[in-house]
Symmetry: D2
Subunit: 396 residues, 4 copies
């Protein structure tokens, strides 16, 4: 048994076979992918990696699994089924992020291959196959959980690994990102939420939901998610450098197909990208490496109804500084997933005295906050601002 | 100089004259009034007193004052004015709770004298008069801040002491109550909020508001307030014993007028009440002292639209168990104060690039959460439940 | 099942039979005994009760028990034995402090009956007998653990409840007192220590010791203990008021025998004492209630070799101010218990690769810190200091 | 003014000229040097950089400076002197680590140039010269503080920047390393220590010491330092990989002189080294990149007197496995600096009622812990262990 210390979850224990999984190069590589990508340029201490997050997701996911079993033993088969599912969900959480490239989303956008597809390729590498075999877990079950396969025989575990709401991935990263940035309001009542999770039967499906005593903790979870988006994930400095990064990756990988082979892809990580910048001549590469803020924030609009104000200001700025000098960033995020279409799969369900209901029925706060939140920002190149000022000075 | 250690604000420093204020029996008595009244019956560790809260309010209020002065020197007169106002606001925060009786609201309801009136009487006690004189502060200014006198020459300080939103009282008690109960989601981004507070000029008035960079921190403040009401302040166990307490205080003080003289009132504190219960014969007194839950929670409704469901269930229960055995508790709270009527004094204002605006204009979250939150609960006497069960058993 | 929230250990779960134990008036009374007695006069926030400590000891003791069983199943009999011992140790930890009177040691000194004897009497009260019976635990086993009976059939559990070193009592109160005072250096590596505890066989006995990987955590435990004594438990303000308290209790209970009957004893708690002071006329009672510091600290000596310096200064002060105006306080504490005499029962043992050895053999730090630490203080009555100054002024 | 958020010190404010310093590539490069080098291989979350440490040292150093001035105004000249020294010490703390290469000590050992010499070269780079000029600070004063020049006109500031005991460097890194590893016992009473620091006059010198009320906090500082060495800095996994790293750097830089030019040196950081490993063929490089533990820990000895046991075991292992397969690691550390030789410069001095004395005179704990602590470990190559086992198996 291996024991690893983590500031968020304290000791995390791994069996010998799990430790072998952890030792795989595809997992050790996660040490070189930062959990928050470029957010360290806004929050200097946000330098934690996907590696510690993978361990954390395993840790909190195990607690969730154990609670669900303790409170709903009938959903998990016999003792050997429970043991198998526990091994399976732990392995899936440990591996859930291996498919990511450097800076994740930017990388995917430039290279055009989803991380799920990469994961599939990796699970076929010979050392990975051997380690999974040693763990006595079916690799297709594992892949099904990670990529969120609708046909998995383990829909409850899939929710824990890649579900849209109550997944261990999110439960860990909110706590972890709040800890490493120091943003106090990013903490939610994890203890209460964990204690309240239940497998619920609803409309012929089994889903992960919460007991009525966990509604306030669920509200805190929704609010913490909002706070982290507002404070950290969509911080204007983070967004600005992500924009620059996109340009840089295009220069760095002029032929995206060259990274198709998984061995080639695996050579890349955040640190290799940062290093490669050093040998690149572009302004963007220099800016990213040395945190030169090429853009200045000109305006922010966070309200739903601000769209027209945002567009108006965007036009004004483009007129004043030239379209090439203005970058309009428009991000949105579902605070609480809504029942979309027929499937209703994205609602959070609550077990009340009167039956299973939608979270919005028992929580005014969740009802009010359901739907999208918006973060729209306008940036102008500093050089254009400067030229403009100079022109004005000369004109006067 | 005296230095006192506090887990929330670390060292709190007092001048010699302030330490003399702290040593007054009316302030030492605050050690025997619990900040959260009966909430320790739901959260055993919530045993902190109004004394440490008074020190905490002084500590955080001083930080707020210093920021407001640093960022808006023009609102505070010359150096000697600033020094005077700093002494004044610190003294007011230290004394802001002295007028409370045991278990605060319950006491006021039974005795029928507001804590503001009690405070006025206390400030006329000879040792208090002498201590205030030694501090070189005008007692009428002090009283004006504590009771929220509209005619005070220091409206900014009045907001810090007894304002409806951004007061140091609230800023401390949220942090403190979250720490002593351990409720994680009760924490807000105090550092960011403190750094963002500003004196703003609006409609010919000066008010305390926030800089646009503080909007997210303000959102966290509104949310933390909600979480503490939902988790702690209106916890069903707390509310149940507050209901019982009301009955007990009526027994204890059959002649409320007897406590009119301030010396008589000052003899009473939480601990004297708990002691007095011991010599009382009633069921309620015994229950309160030994945490006997006379009532069981039968139903909860937290949504705005639940009023009719609540009333319907209330009727059903009264019919089933008898009206005397049912207690309907209906609490509400403004999450974010709204502009009510003409005064508009209760809005939180934000300084943006475009001018001073209502917080709801720049924050969708605050806009959505503005208005009242509801906590409606129905309790039934356990003895009635038991009799009912027995009847049913005999009937079958 | 009952679930209680605690800021130190998060959720603490109790079975129905344990909850009945918790509801006993002798346990609810612990809410009115402060864990740190008068230390709140030095650290205002140290107002936590023995009640939350009793729950905390149960919580951490359960974790210790579960680790000891997981790592040394052979020491605990069959499954039903393990279940019995778990119930037993949890009940013992919940009840371990019920025998204390107001302000604990001072009370014992004045009344002359040890808390162990009181506990024995309480366990014979009819409601207590019934609650223990419902828990299916042998009351004599319970009493044996609490009073540290050498003849108990459960020596390992006795160490957890009332052992001299690695007991759950100490493990909880260090964490709890550090949390509620805010003294950062009082924290030890509880997670590492808990994970390292083992039942060891040594010289034909079974004892609780630590695995070699836990030595550093054990060092942190010894150091944290030292820091709490130095910062909090022997703080000069705390000690001064404990001295005054002794005098006050003597006045309050002129006939100690009157409190011999357990019903009479149980009527007393910290709050009743504080209340009773109000009706007492003495200077000491007034001082204690209103935190009037009758004494001033004149000198402190914390070194082992300072004894002669301390005695010399004591003589000087007595000469100068009169013996009745000087109070010499001399406290000492074993930092790490030593093998005393034949029994060797007070050593901490460590399991190394080479066998079980004394902690001092594998830790230089523990070896160096073993033995007594001293806190000697000299106080002079303020009135005498003042008179002395006046005399000098008149004389000049 | 720029405001940066840090989880340890909350907001850190920089003036415009200081922000320009922070933007220098030599400072931004600190983001690519990890504060704890390879310790992340033992504590996965210990991924924080020297960049956030540099900001933290500036933050805590400023608090120390402000306290020293407030409590010893006479040591700091007139107002403009104080302002100058404040700018100077903040800049020195921000820059104090720029001279480090990848993995610091290992790099220095292989390349043979001390970081102080590198710092000197860097301060002569044109962008650095310009930024220092803009800050209106004399570069020679700056260099003097960073390299610990005995002839500096600012000996008090030198102690804060590069002193052997009470320096801001150490004050920050202990707090920071404890936070990012999660090691609870690494925390010391920073608030109390900071409040107790004083400039003392002793033997004709001025030194930084502590007020008598800070002795317990000083003890906590000494103990925290010990705990971090024992738990983290000399953890066997960390040490093992540092040993492997040394070999790797030798391969990577076969011609150390090639890195003499400062531009060449500055191209290297932790991330470039990790990348370069990828293209290296050696077993050591692969091991370092993928955390392959080539060695197993065979024995540990932490006591002072263990030297002969350590040497005996070392011989045995070398005999059994071959000298080339055994690595003996012997580290020691002064817990509390002693008066060494004539200068006495390394004692911590305490201001008592009776005058300035050595800390060991007023603290038994510091006296006992003074001197060296030892961490001696023996490692054997796993391959040799395996071969040995195989031989034994074949032999039997």
């Amino acid at each position: 048994m291996k024991r690893i210390f983590d500031p968020v979850h304290h000791f995390i224990e791994l069996s010998t076979a799990e430790a072998r999984l952890l030792d795989l190069p595809i997992v050790q590589r996660l040490r070189r992918l930062r959990q928050l990508g470029l957010a360290y340029l806004a929050f200097p201490s946000a330098e934690h990696s996907r590696f510690s997050h993978a361990l954390g997701a395993l840790a909190i996911g195990t607690r969730v699994f154990d609670t669900l079993v303790a409170r709903g033993r009938e959903f998990f088969g016999d003792d050997s089924d429970v043991a198998y599912q526990r091994r399976l969900v732990r392995a899936a959480l440990l591996l859930h992020d291996v498919g990511h490239g450097p800076f994740s989303h930017a990388c995917e956008a430039v290279l055009g291959i989803a991380h799920e597809a990469r994961t599939k390729q990796m699970l076929e590498l010979s050392d990975v196959v051997a380690a999974i075999a040693a763990l006595e877990v079916d690799p297709s079950h594992l892949l099904g959980l990670i990529v969120g396969d609708a046909a998995t025989p383990y829909p409850v575990l899939r929710e824990l690994v890649s579900g849209p709401n109550l997944d261990a991935d999110r439960m860990d990263y909110l706590l972890r990102d709040a800890y490493f940035t120091g943003v106090a309001s990013g903490r939610y009542d994890a203890e209460q939420l964990l204690a309240s999770l239940r497998v619920l039967r609803h409309d012929g499906r089994v889903v992960v939901g919460v007991d009525r005593r966990g509604v306030v903790a669920l509200e805190s979870f929704v609010m913490a998610r909002y706070m982290m988006f507002a404070s950290v994930y969509f911080h204007h400095t983070t967004r600005m450098f992500e924009h620059i990064l996109h340009e840089v990756l295009g220069e760095l990988w002029p032929a995206p197909r060259a990274l198709d082979p998984i061995e080639e892809f695996l050579r890349w990580d955040d640190f290799r990208v940062l290093n490669a910048l050093d040998d690149t001549q572009s302004e963007a590469a220099y800016a990213l490496r040395n945190r030169v803020r090429i853009y200045a924030l000109a305006a922010e609009f966070n309200g739903e109804r601000d769209l027209s104000a945002f567009e108006r200001r965007d036009s004004e700025l483009r007129e004043q500084y030239g379209a090439g000098n203005v970058w309009a960033d428009s991000q949105s995020q579902l605070l609480h997933r809504l029942p979309l279409g027929i499937g209703e799969e994205k609602t959070i369900l609550v077990q009340t005295r009167e039956g299973v209901v939608d979270a919005r029925e028992v929580s005014d706060v969740i009802a009010k906050l359901s739907g999208k939140a918006y973060w729209r920002k306008l940036f102008v190149r500093r050089i254009a601002l400067l030229q403009n000022t100079n022109r004005r000075l000369r004109g006067s």
